[in-house]
Structure formats: structure tokens, C-alpha cells
Symmetry: C2
Subunit: 335 residues, 2 copies
Amino acid sequence: MPKRLGKQTVIIESNVSIISSAAIVGVKEGEGPLSNYFDTIIEDAEWGEESWEKTESKMQREAVMTALKKGNVTESNLHYLLAGDLLNQSIGSTFGLREMGVPFFGLFGACSTMAESLSLAAMLTDGGFSDYSAAVTSSHFCTAERQFRMPLEYGGQRTPTSQWTVTGAGAAIVSKNGSGPYIRHVTTGKIVDMGIKDPNNMGSAMAPAAVDTMTAHFQDTGRTPDFYDLIVTGDLGAVGRAITIEMMEKNGYILDKYDDCGCMIFDLEQQDVSAGGSGCGCSAATLCGYILKSMTDKVFNNVLFIATGALMSPTTTLQGETIPAIAHAVAISNE
Amino acid sequence: MPKRLGKQTVIIESNVSIISSAAIVGVKEGEGPLSNYFDTIIEDAEWGEESWEKTESKMQREAVMTALKKGNVTESNLHYLLAGDLLNQSIGSTFGLREMGVPFFGLFGACSTMAESLSLAAMLTDGGFSDYSAAVTSSHFCTAERQFRMPLEYGGQRTPTSQWTVTGAGAAIVSKNGSGPYIRHVTTGKIVDMGIKDPNNMGSAMAPAAVDTMTAHFQDTGRTPDFYDLIVTGDLGAVGRAITIEMMEKNGYILDKYDDCGCMIFDLEQQDVSAGGSGCGCSAATLCGYILKSMTDKVFNNVLFIATGALMSPTTTLQGETIPAIAHAVAISNE
């Protein structure tokens, strides 16, 4: 049977399972609506480390170790680590995972990394190259803020369209054996750039990429949104979520069981996060905490997970560039 | 037949071919010993662009377009782009390739990216997920220098162990059909950190990673160095090259047909590059220019290509961290 389905989608024929997952989040995320679904809520922004970058690295490492433990797998069973993050030169991943002694593929998909890492893990497993692999990513409010925006001490005002970088890490263990949830399809995104220039409006920059990949997924598979009992984007927030619903409707798809991790992980009314959560950790912690747990509990049986990433850097913003974006989709099913 | 061979190596069973490649380099590289093997030598550091970052992006795009043309493949045939670079948030790749409309996997392996992208391209192809894909990376002396070290105008002195970032891009088109050269084995590196802290001595930081992966390759495959008529590391330079030879000898392997792209792309006596070339573009341009052309001409028939990456950032260096490194190996053969 051919594995390719249309221009952007592939079928994962064998029963590639997510056998376990773990989510570690910060204080603010621990006070949000998904609080009960996280494995660890760290006690402060430092978690015993001397820099926030080291804290973020520790979160990735602990997320992988917790997921391994929950899946009864040891580090020595892992064939690949697939990991990345938002920090320059992906130091959250490389420093966090350097002691594990596992073959390592570093990824950069900005906030789409959770879906990118699951996509590659699924294909490497189905291709016969991997028995066990770990897909992992993270973000930290304090490391992201000082790298992409201003020193925290500056105390700059935030615009209503801005989003709050999630302090969180998620790890999933992907296996060639297991009883699900199964990764059934992978739809890989193209870079989409609609000309948005405002780095305080990521939702608008990323929504067209989510729409592009979601539309490709439906066209490639012949499915309609009602096949899924949850369609979930990564970190578009309230602004990008509304744009996505509107653009998908123009493309002929009504999204009625749709939400966005950036709107789910925080209480947007109460938690002062402007348009919602963002960062690699937003979709990673929501998937590896809430969504996969809910699939195990049969609350959801078919989920389309579309993590979204904005691919700019402070340098490109200063050079007057627009913001390219990307979205990768993974279809996860209990059957 | 099982595809896994030992802890770190996989066999690529089908005839996954590198059907074409292209290398674009800067002025200094064009004056070096490999001058005749490059597709394009740009006329100055800007190549008509208004920033060096935009120049680097243009080099990646043109490398892919040239390789596609040489392979008689169009953009619409490509199933995947696998790309990354040294710049923060991989903007060389994302901005360079954003208009191509091809599903995109962003990678971060620092200077190991050429081997990382070829590794994943080979596995996705052998796994039945890709007919044609492009593996691409780049570096630019001026973008790397101002991001990792000092503004160029500062004119800082260089230490003898420092290396000169290559201005160069390389792209390879990987196909499920073709008449070679074939990717036969992929040995994926673990992160290795031997405690080196000096960012002006990358060769010493990366050599242990090259040794680790090379040793794993020989152990996993049962081969000895004499199987290959060229074993080539990515950008260890003269210092790292000497360390590699010595460490491999201690591991029981005599490397007599071994060289390093950082020592090959420049004339170390004449070109004032201290210990040699470095950067993603160093191994990429040497492979996609000189080595693959020499394989087509049967000068080499069996090559072990091991690209090496230093995974630090200026932030980790300022925070007193050591330099983790990684090396990925790809065995390429005419048979």
C-alpha cells in the first residue's frame, strides 16, 4: 500500500503508539484550568537552578525521564531523541538531554516542534528504524521573554494581541508496539508567509499556516472536520483561533469541535495573559498532559493535533522582515 | 531484514540515491583548493542583498534550485525540504526556502546539519514516505561572526586554535530511484561533552563526538577504516583533526585515508584561516561540491561522511557552560 496520500500527508500503516507522555509546567500554568493533568508543577521560575535557561533544560530532561518511567522504558531502550526549543541554538534541548547517551536529532520548528518531533518519530518507527523514541520540547516564559523581547526587569506593557509564553515541557514516548493512542497520519506543513510584521501578533501570523495544513489534511485524506472529536491548534491564542475558524469556513470547513492549546492552558478571563498562551511548551504540555490522558480515558478517540510555529527571529524583525509560519499536523486515534 | 545494526546505525536497504547536488560559496572559499568544484562563487559578501542574513538565505535557496535543475527535478516533485543553519531561529533556512511551497522539516544540528539532513532524508525515503527530498544547509562568515563573536568592525584578534566560518551552502537531492551515489548506512550521533569551555577551540570540543560516532559506526557495521577510500569529518580543522587521529588510534583504528573538510576547503598555509574552516557550509559545500563530484568520477567509491556540530550558544558560554558536541555519519557508496 502506498504510504503517501496527496501532496503533504503520509499514512502510518503500522500500530505506532504513544505509549506514555509527561508534562511539566510552571506556577502560572499550574494555576490554570488544566492543572490536574500535569505530572509536575514546578515551585518557582528557577526550580533550583541558577539560570532560567538551566531550568528549561532541566524541565526537558525531567519530562523525558518521567515519560520513560510511566512507559516502563529505560534510556538504553531509546533509539532516538527528537527535540528542539525556541532558544538560540536550541540549548534547552541540547544541554537538557546531553547526558542521556541517546542518538539525538535536533529540530527547529519554533512552536510547531511537538508535532514536528512526533511526525518524524512516527515515520522513523513505521519505517523500521526505531523501536522506541522520545519526542520532546519546551519553553520558559523568562528565557523567551529576555531572548525575544526585553529584560523582564524592564516591565514593558503588553498589547492585547500579544501572547504569554508558557513555561512548560512535554515529552512523548513513541513505540512500534503498544495499545495506542496510535499516530495514523502525518501532514507536514509548508512555510506560509502572509506578510504580518508585528511580533506582538503571532496568532495572526500563524493562523494561515494552521489553515493551510489543516486544509491539506482534509483534502489529502478525504476527511471532514466531523471525523475528529477534537481538532486542536498549538498556540494561536484567541486572535489566531478566531481567524482560523473564519478562514476554514471560507475554505468550506466548519470547525465545531475545535480549540487552541493557547486558549485551553490558561483562563483568559482571569489570568492576565492577553490573547492566550504560546511557546513550544504550550502545545507540548497540553498534548502530553491533558489531551493524551483524555484519549486514554476515551474522552477523545480521534484527535487532529496541529502545532503552529512562527519562524522569525529578533534579527529579522529588526531588518523589517515579515513573519513566516509553519504548522504540522498529526492525526492520533484510539483505534 | 532488520534495519537496525547495533546501537546507533541503521541500514538503508533500498537504493536511496543522491541524484544531484550543488555548492555555492563565498570569495575566500572560491580562492581555495576546491575552487573548481563549486557551482557558484559569489562575487562579494552581499551578493546583491541588503543584509548578510538575506545573502545567506539566498545562498540556500539558490543551492536547492541549482541542485534541482542538475537533477532534472522540479520544486513540485519535492516531498520534503530538510534544512537548518547556525543562525538564531534558523533564519537562513526558513527565510531562504519560504517561497518554495514544499513541506518543511527544520533541523538544528549546528555544523552537523548536512549529515543530519541526509540521514533523515535517507530514512524517510527508504521508509516509503518520500520520492524526492532536498537536504540543505549554509553558513556565512559575516552572519556567524557577528552573532557568535563580535561585530566585524571590532577587528578582534584570532587565536591559533580558532576556525574561519565558511561562507557556503550545499544542497543534495535524495531520491528513491537513481544510479547513485547511494546512502547505505546512517549512524546517528549522541551528544558528547568532554568539558571544553573555549569557544575559540571548537575542534577540540567536537573531535570527541566525531570519534564517538565513527567508533560506533565501525562497531555496529563490523567494518574497519580501510573499507572506505575517504573518511571525512565536517569542520574539526587542524587541531580537531589531529585529536581525532590520536583518539581513534587509541580506540584501535588507524585512519590513513582520513581528512577534514575544514582542512580541505582552505589552504591553511596561505589563506590566514588559523586552524581551518568551520560552519555548516564547510562540510556542506565540500560534500556537495568536491566529494560527490569525485564519487561520480569514481575517484572515491566508498565515503564515510561525518559532519560535526558544536551545540553551544553565546548565552551558555557567558553562563560558564561547557560545549556539548555531536557528529552524525552517513556512509555513501557507488555500489
